[in-house]
């Protein structure tokens, strides 16, 4: 085997291995942090409904938002490319989007909590691929933004 081939294989295998281990580690750590913060912010209620009950007493109302840009790792890109040949569910990207979405919602909740609000109405989720320059039409990261109207009210207190 000549050296050139070995180097070429190295350029492919090393990022793949790095992506696999660090990506896995990153994802596990992120999920742990998401679960912990979701527990902490359980007091903030989130509704996708746009109608606020008429008899609500409101001390505060305002727009809150949160966003996160999450990048895939090299291993996931590879898996997704493989999937692209056969078609079907790209589960490696599903977890990516789910993480981004949950992170964005958490940040929105934190934003609401900073305002002392306890309910968020009319939550909308916005997803957008992020292109880095030099990557021609292949987006490797995704931005998710969550926004809604936060209310501070006694109405929902149990």
């Amino acid at each position: 085997m000549d050296n050139e081939l070995l180097i070429n294989i190295g350029f492919f295998v090393i990022p793949l291995a790095l992506g696999y281990f660090f990506g896995k580690w990153n994802e596990a750590r992120h999920y742990k942090s998401i679960l912990r913060r979701e527990n902490e912010l359980r007091a903030v209620m989130v509704f996708a409904a746009r109608h606020i009950p008429d008899d609500v007493d409101v001390d505060f109302s305002g727009l809150v938002s949160g966003s996160a840009v999450i990048s895939v790792d090299y291993f996931k890109t590879f898996l997704a490319n493989l999937r692209g040949i056969f078609g079907g569910t790209v589960s490696s990207y599903e977890t990516l989007l789910e993480r981004a979405r949950r992170e964005a919602i958490l940040r929105m909740k934190q934003n609401a909590k900073d305002w002392d609000a306890n309910v968020i109405f009319n939550v909308r989720l916005e997803t957008c691929p992020v292109f880095a320059s030099g990557q021609n039409n292949t987006s490797r990261s995704v931005e998710v933004m969550a926004y809604g109207t936060a209310l501070k009210t006694q109405y929902f207190k149990t």
């Binding site: 990048s71 996931k76 916005e126 990261s141 931005e143």
Partner: protein
């Protein structure tokens, strides 16, 4: 200035409509963040630089919208929507729009 993405503000009613107001920004990343993003694409994880950049440009777009509404004499913007589009590699446009209104307290509270 009250901003909401619902058409009504609880306890208030709309006195006057001023129509659509909007604000936009087009932002691009500097090479440093781009380079770091390239590395992150191998390891995976959050791109903090991009998150912050998009957050600040969103704030900027909101500020521009609020400025326009203030100029019209409104004290609230309702039905606000955000929209993001990647117009080119390395640049993104943030658009935020809503209806500017003037509010007054509802008599029945």
């Amino acid at each position: 200035m009250i901003i909401s993405n619902i058409e009504i503000i609880p306890g208030k009613k709309v006195k006057e409509h001023f129509g659509l107001v909007h604000g936009n920004t087009v932002q691009s990343k500097h090479l440093g963040t781009d380079f770091l993003a390239g590395i992150k694409n191998i390891f995976g994880g959050e791109l903090k630089g991009y998150t912050e950049l998009l957050e600040t440009s969103r704030k900027e777009a909101l500020d521009r919208m609020i400025q326009e509404a203030t100029h019209l004499g409104a004290d609230a913007i309702v039905n606000v929507r955000f929209s993001t589009s990647s117009i080119a590699a390395g640049a993104a446009e943030i658009l935020v729009y809503g209806s500017a209104v003037k509010l007054e307290d509802r008599a029945d509270g």
